[in-house]
Amino acid sequence: MSNQKSEAALIGKVKNIANVMASAGVGFTDYITQLTYILFLKMDEEKEEAGLDSTIPAGCKWQDIVNLSGTDLVEKYEEILSTLSKEEGLIGTIFTNATNKISRPVMLQEVFKMVDSENWYMMEGDLKGAIYERILEENGQDRKSGAGQYFTPRALIQAIVEVVDPKINETVADPCCGTGGFLLAAYAHMKSQSKELEKLKFLKNNALSGADVTPLVVTLASMNLYLHDIGVNKSPIVLQDSLLDTSDRLYQVIMTNPPFGTRPQGSVEVNSIRTEFIRTSDNQVNFLQHIMSIVKTGGRVGVVLPDSVLTDQGATAKVREKLLKDYNLHTILRLPTGIFYANGVKTNVLFFDKGEPTKDIWVYDYRTGIKHTMATKKMTRAHLDDFVKCYCSGHIEDRKATYSEDNPNGRWRCFSEEEVKQADTLDFKWIDLEEKDQRTVQEVLKDMEEEAQGITTAVDKLKKLLGSVEI
């Protein structure tokens, strides 16, 4: 109970300042990034006070700045950001390309004051992490900043992690990690699988890998993991354009939600670096190719992709061909609209393993007739319970379709190898929720006669009731 209160109170504090910032022209995302930097400095200070080692070089510590004001404050802050961005390890990652976005001294002071008023380091790990996640979620719903593209709904992440089921000795990667949601969820999932120190050490230090092309998001993801006690010495997140990654590193599990939209103008052409790829300007198709290239044989993938990847012809169709030939795409989850920040986006989750060709494809239609909105009808983990149950993770030989001739609107259906070969897209839909009128023309006419008769009788009664009154 008190956790909720302090969580709510702190988030309230953060939001209050956000509003002040917004009116001064500092967007929520920028504000959160600056807050992250300042928070980190404070936490380092608290660690030192508690007798632990500080990781920040002298001259850039909390004490060096907290008592300054006015332009002195701004100058020192910018100096610190610049210095720390050049550091190695965790600090360098958190302060990747760090620049100040709060130029007004009074505003900057507000943030420092707020951060100074709390003890963050000693806060329970869960609380710290939860608060930060909440802030990121708020940010994710901020349509103006477009920060939504960094934030996958946690309910969806939970379900995907549960069914892909990463094991504690496996390597897990997210090549477009955004704020680190998938990695965090994978960590929590794997941590509970063993108490052996060696395994836990591997998990903490070597299992997770994340990358993103946007510096501020690398900051947010690193901080997110740090506050959950992951990557305390070295962040598992790197600043990188994954599509240009030629490192040849392979991973056992990949779970990710590539950003929707097109590649930014002026970026290096993917096909020029990754010459083995089929040439396309579609960002998501390129990510699919990348994911296919970094998964180990025998490895598993869960990736969120829009409808266009399932239906487009041309280059996309060629990539699909390769996917079905060299990988076993065994499950597709059709997602409804209204769960991502961008309305109307139609997405699916593709689950595939590397090493065998695709035979049957099981499709779960969680789209037809499903209505969710970000504000009032949010999708929760419970909404995906049926899917997770049907998936039979770890024992897929037990899968049973809920679709049948008697139940044509069953959401879980198996498409045989034959049907898959016949289909020219992967857009499988079959549910028709419109109730078709089953009557024959004769029956309809009879009903109409009865109704007409009923009307005449009622009108006659009415006339009698009204007597001489005219209508």
Binding site: Q422, E451, I455, A458, L462, I471
Partner: protein, 454 residues
């Protein structure tokens, strides 16, 4: 079709003007009731002193009396208010949004489920609740339970044994409607003031007659509601029937297959021959052949002498040309002689035509894409209208009806601006009947729909 709601309004008017009831000598004279009314509260007295002007009152039976609302009820007395903190859990908390236009209760929300701010008015079971905000919405009802409400709802009771339900009729008849709307102040939030309401003229019959009137109105409304429901079902069935007839038409179930019709295969060959000839003469474009139809694609059975084809096989589709919006006139005039068809039918008139003849037009942009219109003569088709060319005397009206029945909208792309690509339309399967049967189908559909259309 009977207009039930306007009939109901008429009934209310009759009820409150004596046309729905009769004299009965056993009824106690209303004057007696009026003489025994309790003393008027000082607040109401003051309001009754300064009566506003009202439109001329209508005629009522001479044993009725005109009175003022504030004389026979507590409307105008100081309301009992409570603060939200004083409201007990489980109390009925009534907001305007719970009341439908006309006075029906949509839901009963209780305090604790509904969080509320601001003071509330207390009301008692049996009181009349009247919304002074937007009075034209006629949100009037009688409380069947104690509760609290938004202060926009005035709660009051009638005295002397006067029938509360009869009074509710008097608050919503056409006369009162008219005078209140004249008087309401405020534009965004029109309200009627308390002085006006307290002085509102109310036509009063003897109490027993009031009760008879209420009973009669109840009976009549029950019948009217029944008529309303049946009419609704009937209308619905008309629509269902229409679509079933057309569906039967496409499947060849509406007409007989006659041996003298020949086969659709013959027609198909004739179409291909004509197309080939026109391509040679460079009158139409050569197109890529469409894929063969596989057994798996066929949606339903058709008569033996029919043939499944693709739209692109037997028609040729081409979109019109863009025309600037400012070149389209709403009316026909000297410069704008020709009808201009867009993606959704007629847009107006333009100076030029780019089609001459009879063609079905398929709309290919926007939410309603896939809609089919029919254009004849010299007209202009925009780039959003796909013109359907027919060959070998294919019946154009048949083409229009069948294209409509195919519901091409389902093939639209699911993007922000839905659209139908021509090459997508060309792939769609359509069942082809022989020529003479085409004409019979059109005639049959028209005559059946014409008969039910009434």
């Amino acid at each position: 079709m009977i207009d039930v709601s306007s009939l109901k309004q008429k009934i209310i008017d009759y009820a409150t003007s004596g046309k729905l009831s009769s004299v009965c000598n056993d009824d106690e004279n209303i004057e007696i009731v009026l003489s025994k009314l309790p003393t008027i509260s000082s607040k109401r007295e003051k309001l009754l002193e300064h009566s506003p002007e009202y439109d001329e009152k209508y005629t009522i039976p001479h044993h009725w009396r005109w009175v003022r609302l504030g004389e026979i009820s507590t409307y105008g007395d100081t309301p009992n208010k409570v603060k939200p903190t004083e409201i007990k859990d489980g109390t009925w908390l009534l907001e305007l949004e719970d009341i439908e236009v006309g006075g029906m209760l949509l839901a009963k929300k209780r305090y604790s489920i509904r969080k509320s701010v601001g003071e509330k008015t207390v009301f008692k079971k049996g009181q009349i609740l009247y919304s002074k905000l937007r009075p034209y919405l006629k949100k009037v009802l009688i409380a069947d339970e104690d509760g609290v409400s938004t202060p926009e709802l005035i709660s009051f009771e009638v005295m002397g044994g006067i029938d509360a339900r009869y009074i509710t009729y008097c608050l919503v008849n056409s006369y009162v409607d008219k005078v209140i709307n004249k008087r309401s102040y405020g534009i965004k939030m029109p309200r009627v003031d308390v002085c006006f309401m307290v002085n509102l003229p109310i036509p009063l019959p003897p109490i027993n007659e009031q009760k008879r009137i209420v009973a009669k109105v109840d009976e009549i409304f029950k019948l009217l509601d029944k008529i309303d429901t049946l009419q609704g079902q009937y209308q619905n069935n008309v629509e269902v029937l229409k679509s079933k007839i057309i569906d039967a038409g496409i499947r060849g179930q509406l007409t007989e297959q006659l041996p003298e019709d020949g086969t659709a295969e013959e027609l198909y060959q004739a179409i291909q021959a004509e197309k080939a000839q026109l391509i040679k003469e460079k009158k139409i474009k050569k197109e890529k052949p469409l894929p063969e139809i596989t057994a798996a694609e066929i949606p339903f059975e058709i008569p033996d002498n029919w043939k499944w084809v693709r739209i692109g096989d037997i028609f040729q589709l081409h979109a019109g040309k863009n025309v600037k919006a400012n070149c389209i006139s709403n009316r026909v005039d000297e410069t704008h002689q020709y009808l201009c068809y867009g993606g959704n039918g007629i847009r107006g008139y333009v100076a030029d035509y780019n089609c001459d003849g009879a063609y079905p037009l398929i709309g290919r942009q926007g939410a309603l894409c896939g809609n089919v219109h029919f254009a004849e003569g010299k007209f202009y088709a925009t780039e959003h209208a796909v013109v359907t060319d027919t060959f070998a005397n294919t019946d154009v009206k048949w083409a229009e009806k069948f294209l409509k029945a195919l519901c091409l909208n389902q093939y639209a792309t699911a993007t922000a601006q839905p659209g139908l690509a021509v090459n997508k339309i060309e792939q769609v399967l359509i069942p082809l009947p022989p020529l003479s049967e085409q004409k019979r189908i059109v005639a049959q559909i028209d005559s059946v729909l014409g008969a039910i259309g009434k």
